[in-house]
Subunit: 374 residues, 2 copies
Amino acid sequence: MTGSTPEPFTADDYRARMARAVRAAEDAGLAGILVAPGPDLVWLTGYTPAVTERLTLLVLAAGQDPVLVVPALEAPDVAHAAGAPALTLRDWTDGKDPYAATAALLDATGRFAVSDNAWALHLLALQRALPRSSYVSLTEGLPMLRAVKDAAELARLAAAGAAADATYEEIRKVPFGGRRESDVAGDLADLLRRFGHSQVDFTIVASGPNGANPHHEAGDRVIEHGDMVVLDFGGLVHGYGSDTSRTVHVGEPDAEQRRVHDIVREAQEAGFRAVRPGAACQDVDRAARAVITGAGYGEYFIHRTGHGIGVTTHEPPYMIEGEERPLVPGMCFSVEPGVYLPGRFGVRIEDIVTVTEDGGRRLNNTTRELVIVD
Amino acid sequence: MTGSTPEPFTADDYRARMARAVRAAEDAGLAGILVAPGPDLVWLTGYTPAVTERLTLLVLAAGQDPVLVVPALEAPDVAHAAGAPALTLRDWTDGKDPYAATAALLDATGRFAVSDNAWALHLLALQRALPRSSYVSLTEGLPMLRAVKDAAELARLAAAGAAADATYEEIRKVPFGGRRESDVAGDLADLLRRFGHSQVDFTIVASGPNGANPHHEAGDRVIEHGDMVVLDFGGLVHGYGSDTSRTVHVGEPDAEQRRVHDIVREAQEAGFRAVRPGAACQDVDRAARAVITGAGYGEYFIHRTGHGIGVTTHEPPYMIEGEERPLVPGMCFSVEPGVYLPGRFGVRIEDIVTVTEDGGRRLNNTTRELVIVD
């Protein structure tokens, strides 16, 4: 376990978040926010129901208390959520129409932001119940709602980063050559849990040519002497995400392997240095990409430079060309450039970075030099 | 492990399912089906990507080959799916608009069925890309698409039922009194895995007053002598679901406990006997409910009588008042009446049943008599 257990969020914390969300919706000209089970609902209420075909929906709108529409069967479970005292429950029983009940809570001609992951089943039924209403995804309508983290959230993200760093310090010591990727991935999962992760979300071990696929997870391939190995791992600590990548080499690397690793390391550094309040998200991508393109590997950097992190490990803001919104203190996201040489190898280096008042601060702090493993 | 490993589904199996789905859409007057990651996509292609904000969508429409729109990063993974040879891939890279690419595959004025669990993010973007198109959820537009199981699917569901039955035979033998619900739930999970489940989805242990909440899972309550205990557990075996409930008693039950259990058992039997081709789904609910209502406990049976099961443990058909569609041979669903007495105890008895040519066949076959445990 890394660090101490933080104070749990209180009903007042959730009440404040919901009030902030309502204000953000008003500022954006929206009539309200419809929140589906998943990360938005966790962040706003602490409630995590099983996701089924039965409608559970938090309705946030100006001038009314937050209402949670919930299947009657599940209503008793809501009381266990820390945010429950800030909610009014509207339960419904099987056979009744929950959409009519929800529609009655909404401005019939309003425009609403709806959780990205709300089910089409529910959205289509609401569109039919209120044909003059309109909808926009939360990511489009209020993209930065969860993006700026408060001090308590930052403490959790820092703890998650420290736990991931402790994992990297240990995984460097295990044997790689002659073992399957899946074996090393198992070690990563064990270490993540040992250092405080309640949930392991991904343990990528991409060796040799598998490293050239950024989304390779871990397979049966036996890692060989001479392989580059991309490690990318993370999960949840106290409900907040970790996500870090390092690329190691089994034995001594050749000149090109070392050169590509140097380029990616410089790109990651350039991306990090571009982080400061007021810079556009795309500036981080451009800064990292310029290094790789300048070195002649631009066509092999085939993904965006970063994604936000919080109660999920993939959320706004995105560090991508075209994302012109500004960085704001408290935002947290990955800076993770990579080079992927098909059929040969890949390199990726990733830290979580938070925006400070005058720049950026890394939440991952293990060495970014190329580490030689056995 | 229960039984032998079935032959894997082949590309031809998936090709046939996709062709069947296209025909069903045409018969329903739909221009096609848009399939999101999740059970629909598993059933149609065998492909199970991680679900993220990046669009992955299978487009099925008459007169064209099945097309899978997929993030370029994930395209290499599709090849591992058994249905891959039956798919044409249309990949897209970060920064490009996947909705325009998808819209180009669709009839701009068509009406499409879309997976219930497709994200609102994606549906809203498609609605905007094709403002003259319209959408209906798959459950509403083609509710029975996955409902009728073929022989290979029935064999998997029967294996899942047998594995759940083996679990019940063993859990009867463990001590209940003096242990926490969560301890018995842990035993259930271990047994489900031991008997062949690759995934455990739920292990409900609802003792004493907790039994009166149909969705109570398992908590810290210490089970006491004299408690009724509702057990409801299941997961996946070879990709298909199990789901069975039995209610046991710690020591000798009193007269009312025994009477309520008898009523629920008779209701379950009546529901099962109502299963035959051509009967309406709601007839199964009515038959079970009539027994409980007739015995004076109607107000305490607070959920529908059953739900379909297949690659998920909750899917059409639903055994509920108002569901007038007919039962068809090959359908599989739960018959699970219950009585829930607030503050006191609950009873539920559940089998998975499949519709045969002339009636029904249970896929769970452990005793439905009240079992006394220690």
